[in-house]
Amino acid sequence: MAVVAPAAEEGCPVLSVENVDVRFGGIQALKSVSLNVHMGEICGLIGPNGAGKTTLFNCITRLSTVATGTIRLNGQPIETLPPRQVIRSGIARTFQNLGIYVGMTVLENVMLGAHHISGGCFIDALVRPRHSWQREQEIERRCRDILADLGLEDVADVAAGSLPYATQKRMEIARALASRPTLLLLDEPAGGLTHGEVTEFGALVSRVREAYGVTVVLIEHHMGLVMSLCDRVEVFHLGRNLASGRPEEVRTNPAVINAYLGRSR
């Protein structure tokens, strides 16, 4: 069983998860899991359903509570931050089954991503409308830029719920980018996309990494995407680290084939 050595590679990792345990009731969802992600990397997280991948994301974004272990972002421990502070510290995520607001327009959804920058103070909105309005305009401009960058400018004022699934996924990334993240967590971004769309999506993620200088961690079952996109792959099984390495190494690892990929791969 390959265990990742603590960041021996170049410099301090952007995200470092060390020996994290998580329990739900009587079930131990994560057992001493570790993960290091370096600057500018695209790291793939794969493993059978129920291996604890999304749970790890939830721990990082503080939607689940860590029993033991530490999670650091740029060296700062974040496992005790309140959930709403996580995005402020530079971590943005997307959700497995889409976490978008279907009743709002695309632009509004994306601007929500910048909420922690604009503040959304009720008193401000009431007594200093000009001030909050200026800030609003500024954020809108920036969000429209991001939308244009992702090719969504035409649908900016369309209700998000009426868009095709693939566009919604793209919008969710735009929203994540609006929060000026350093680390982007993508939970099954290719799920439910057709093959052509998956390829497009992969290109988008690469481009976003370059253009916005973000580090990406993604959970994915689509092996084609994982193999072509990721710099490094981390395999989970039954709440533990199973293997780690470059995509081609992992792909041929017998333990991974046995637990996850199946015979045909």
């Binding site: 996580v86 009743g103 709002m104 309005w133």
Partner: protein, 337 residues
């Protein structure tokens, strides 16, 4: 996206037009009834903010309304303040108490919150009786009548009606400020899916309590106005059914429509009277049927009726944002492993 425009949709324009024409059309006592409706309308605006826009239910709106009324009465009776000058204080005091009532909302949602707040509404009249050293207990409180100033050429009723309209305009104006921009978005995000909102950095505690505070302030303002209009208040006026009436008004009018708030208020003030006019013995029966029929025809409230919608489409030239509610995924439906 010019949010400073006061009236964005056709129902709003219609309601405003009717409100401004009333003095020419309605006799004094009707004007008085309409002023009462405006009070309720302001309280319903508060409920709209809470239920329609931030997705939290409060069935204590009638109690908060009463707190506003008592704040005005006590400030007037015990401290000799001019009744009109007490209104801002009524709003602020009610807002603070509203935050207290909103505290359970941090843990409870939906049905449970509704029942707990309804409990508050039920206890309110008894609490007023218990605190008789300041509320006057069963005898109630009589306030000074704010007479129309000398320069005002119209009748007393017209003066009070004008006063109510000004309060309503201020409320709508403030509410619009809250609902546009970031605060508006975050409240809708809170309503449609609080978990995602939190992961987007929304401070749920602050946002929920702020919504309660703003909503209660409106209820308090409406209540203060109610006290001024009537000149006398007693616990009997703030029974739990008042909260239910306000809820009915909000939903009948359309829970995400500001114009609907006032339409709903007119409904709860006038319709019970009309139904007893049809037949005193069958009044309640007809009112009950009326409520049921109303909701079967206008499921989104009167402001959401097709006719309202087509008007809205007409007004779409002015209308940039659609604030209507599309049901988002429930927290439990997000799925995941």
């Amino acid at each position: 996206m010019n949010g400073t425009r006061l009236f964005q949709s056709a129902p709003a324009a219609l309601v405003t037009a009717v409100a401004l024409c009333l003095p020419f059309l309605a006799p004094d006592f009707m004007l008085f009834e309409f002023s009462i409706a405006v009070c309720y309308g302001i309280a319903i605006l508060g409920l709209n903010l809470l239920l329609g826009f931030s997705g939290q239910i409060c069935l204590a709106q009638g109690a908060l309304f009463g707190i506003g009324a008592y704040a005005t009465a006590i400030l007037n009776v015990n401290f000799g303040m001019d009744p009109i000058a007490t209104l801002p204080f009524a709003a602020i005091i009610t807002s603070l108490i509203g935050v207290l009532i909103g505290l359970p909302a941090l843990r409870l949602q939906g049905l449970q919150l509704a029942i707990v707040t309804f409990g508050v509404a039920s206890a309110f009249p008894q609490l007023l009786l218990k605190m008789d050293w300041i509320t006057g207990g069963v005898t109630g409180l009589a306030t000074d009548q704010p007479l129309a100033p000398k320069w005002f050429p119209g009748s007393q009723e017209l003066w009070l009606y004008g006063l109510s309209l000004i309060c309503a305009a201020i409320s709508v104006f403030m509410l619009r400020r809250l609902l546009r921009g970031d605060t508006g978005r975050l409240m809708r995000a809170l309503r449609d899916n609080p978990l995602i909102a939190e992961s987007l950095g929304v401070n749920l505690t602050k946002a929920r309590l702020a919504a309660f505070a703003a909503s209660s302030a409106l209820a308090g303002l409406g209540g203060g106005l109610f006290c001024i209009l009537n000149g006398f208040i007693s616990p009997q006026s703030f029974l739990p059914m008042k909260s239910i009436d306000i809820l009915i008004g909000g939903i009948v009018g359309g829970i995400t429509s500001m114009a609907g708030a006032f339409i709903g208020a007119v409904f709860i003030v006038f319709v019970p009277g009309w139904t007893t006019d049809i037949n005193p013995a069958l009044g309640g029966l007809i009112y009950g049927l009326c409520l049921i029929a109303m909701m079967m025809v206008a499921r989104q409230g009167i402001a959401g009726l097709p006719i309202g919608r087509s008007l809205q489409a007409l007004g779409g030239i002015f209308n940039k944002k659609d604030l209507s509610r599309v049901p988002g995924p429930l927290p439990g439906q997000l799925g995941g492993e």
